[in-house]
Amino acid sequence: MEVTDIIKAENLIYKRTPLLTENILSYCPGCGHGTVHRLIMETIEEMGIQSQTIGVAPVGCSVLAYQFMDIDMQQAAHGRAPAVATGIKRVMPEKFVFTYQGDGDLAAIGTAETIHACNRGENITIIFINNGIYGMTGGQMAPTTLAGMVTSTSPYGRNTAMMGNPIKMTELVAQLPGTYYVTRQAVHTPAAVRKCKKAIRKAFENQKLNKGVSFVEVVSNCNSGWKMTPNQANIWMEENMFPFYPLGDIKVPEDSL
């Protein structure tokens, strides 16, 4: 059998959503960013809200997210995406607005913007990619870097007495009255991907209810920053990241229990 015999409409079981552009992803092979991009775009396609959605790209590896997502997008300054999203949503409350942010962006330089957007209960979706490191700038320590974890600015491991502790931002924002749905997911296995997609769908659907922030953390790998192969990185993530950042819902709307 030739390849051309296989490529037929009736054999098609999976197709790239047209909402992902044909630009070649700038992410390292095996990186979680690309998978999460796909899930968001599939969600927007399935909900039929392409013309009603505005995305906010952060500073970090996903700074160019707008090259891959075929929707109107704004690029925000480092950490400021929740403020930018607030500015958008307040003038267009009927639109769907989301931010896409790394851990440095959301939990270090942008902590104030994150906390206050969540506390005000802005009716937006926040997608938070936690890879425990600064991917874009070459693997420096992040606020979420685990104790003992080696990065280029903690070359002997994160010494918490000297460098502070890893921050559980998701648990933190779950405490705020303005968050409606807070969950922690991953995309390292097909099962995790399916679960994560459901969470993202819920996080977007929630915007219709006007009840505040839906916050989806995705614990992800940074194989380049961690200096591992993609497979090693996923195993390391399961063994080290998940015990400290356990997967699952942290705050679920009472009316959906």
Partner: protein, 357 residues
């Protein structure tokens, strides 16, 4: 239609003018001496009057980034602050300039550096006119000298911001912001219902997606963006220079001053005229683009120019550049929130310009 006169503070006039100019959103953070702007918008329930968004942000940084978000949706968005807060906004202002978004920023200047004082000052001239944040960019800067101009410049600022897709700064100060004067208000203008074709309002099937960004990693492409932006500033220099001349026609000497300093100097000019000194006042209204040409044209007829500024001599550099050595230019000013008196100005004119060599 009946004319609408009020007695108002400069800051209140800006707030009222924003509602009437059809502003879509105000995001701000309190700081003296400009907090009346957000207080007025809230007390007036601007959101009920026109549907305008008024939101107190968690910081000036957040506020300017909210402005970025709303401006990128094609809305008339604004913020206001005073010097320390404006410093915090500089990153955001640079992004807004880089992404070529229209917006209005109001700086009611107080004395610095650092936390400084809450008294009026003009020490943010450099920051306002030379860029302020990182990168090669300029704001279009309007300097009101009265409560009336504080009000009038709001609608003008929004219109210029949209004309050039560039942030516009109203550079007020603690005197203009806090004093009360009679002001004639403009009629209510409608808020926008249609938005520029670059706005991120949701990608419809009939168009490509709109992307608002200041990022271009390719240096050659980034250079082209810079060249395009610079051409815009050149066009502002050709089309938007605004100034006022008082008693300059027969003048042998000229004082150059803007904002509240210009009011003090106007008084000094009248006192000097009473003493037989032929002095006029040149008041730049746009600080960028700076009225360099009109000042240069005056230079041949003058024996000397004095700039009067509530700072350590910032605008004097632009006047010297404008006259390019054709005539003597000296500076007089008070620092740190102290307001010069007309007699101090007159003394400085007599000592540094008329009597000086």
């Amino acid at each position: 239609m009946e004319r609408d006169f009020r007695l108002m503070k400069g800051n209140e006039a800006i707030a009222e003018a924003a509602i009437r100019a059809g502003a879509d959103a105000y995001y701000g953070y309190p700081i003296t001496p400009q907090s009346e702007i957000i207080e007025y918008l809230m007390a007036e329930k601007a959101y009920d009057r026109t549907g305008m968004v008024v939101l107190q942000a968690e910081s000036e940084i957040a506020a300017i980034n909210m402005v970025y978000g709303a401006a990128a949706c094609g809305r008339r968005a604004m913020t206001s602050s005073s010097s320390p807060g404006i410093s915090l906004k500089q990153e955001g202002i640079s992004y807004i300039a880089g992404a070529e978004l229209p917006c209005l920023i109001v700086n009611v200047v107080r004395g610095g550096p650092g936390l400084g004082t809450i008294q009026p000052s003009q020490s943010d001239y450099f920051q306002s006119t030379k860029g302020g944040g990182h990168g090669d960019y300029r704001l279009l800067v309007l300097a009101p000298a009265s409560v009336q101009e504080s009000s009038d410049f709001v609608e003008l600022a929004f219109d210029l911001a949209f004309k050039y897709r560039n942030p516009v700064l109203i550079l007020s100060d603690g005197v203009i912001g806090q004093m009360m004067e009679k002001v004639e208000l403009k009629p209510q203008r409608k808020r926008l219902t249609e938005y520029e074709n670059w706005s991120t309002t949701g990608k419809t099937p009939d168009r490509q997606r709109n992307i608002i960004t200041s990022l271009e990693l390719d240096a050659h492409k980034q250079e082209l963006i810079n060249i395009r932006i610079q051409a815009k500033y050149k066009r502002m220099q050709e089309e938007e220079v605004r100034y006022e001349k008082i008693l300059c026609d027969d003048a042998e000497y000229m004082i150059v001053a803007f904002g509240s300093s210009a009011r003090i100097c106007e008084k000094a000019v009248h006192v000097a005229r009473g003493k037989g000194i032929k002095v006029g006042l040149f008041r730049p209204i746009t600080l960028f683009p700076y009225p360099s040409k009109p000042i240069e044209e005056m230079a041949d007829k003058l024996k000397g120019i004095l700039t009067v500024e509530m700072n350590a001599g910032q605008m004097v550099e632009d006047v010297r550049l404008a006259v390019n050595g054709k005539v003597k230019v000296e500076y007089f000013g008070r620092l740190g929130g102290v307001i010069p008196s007309p007699s101090e100005v007159l003394n400085a004119l007599e000592e540094k310009i008329i009597g000086g060599k």
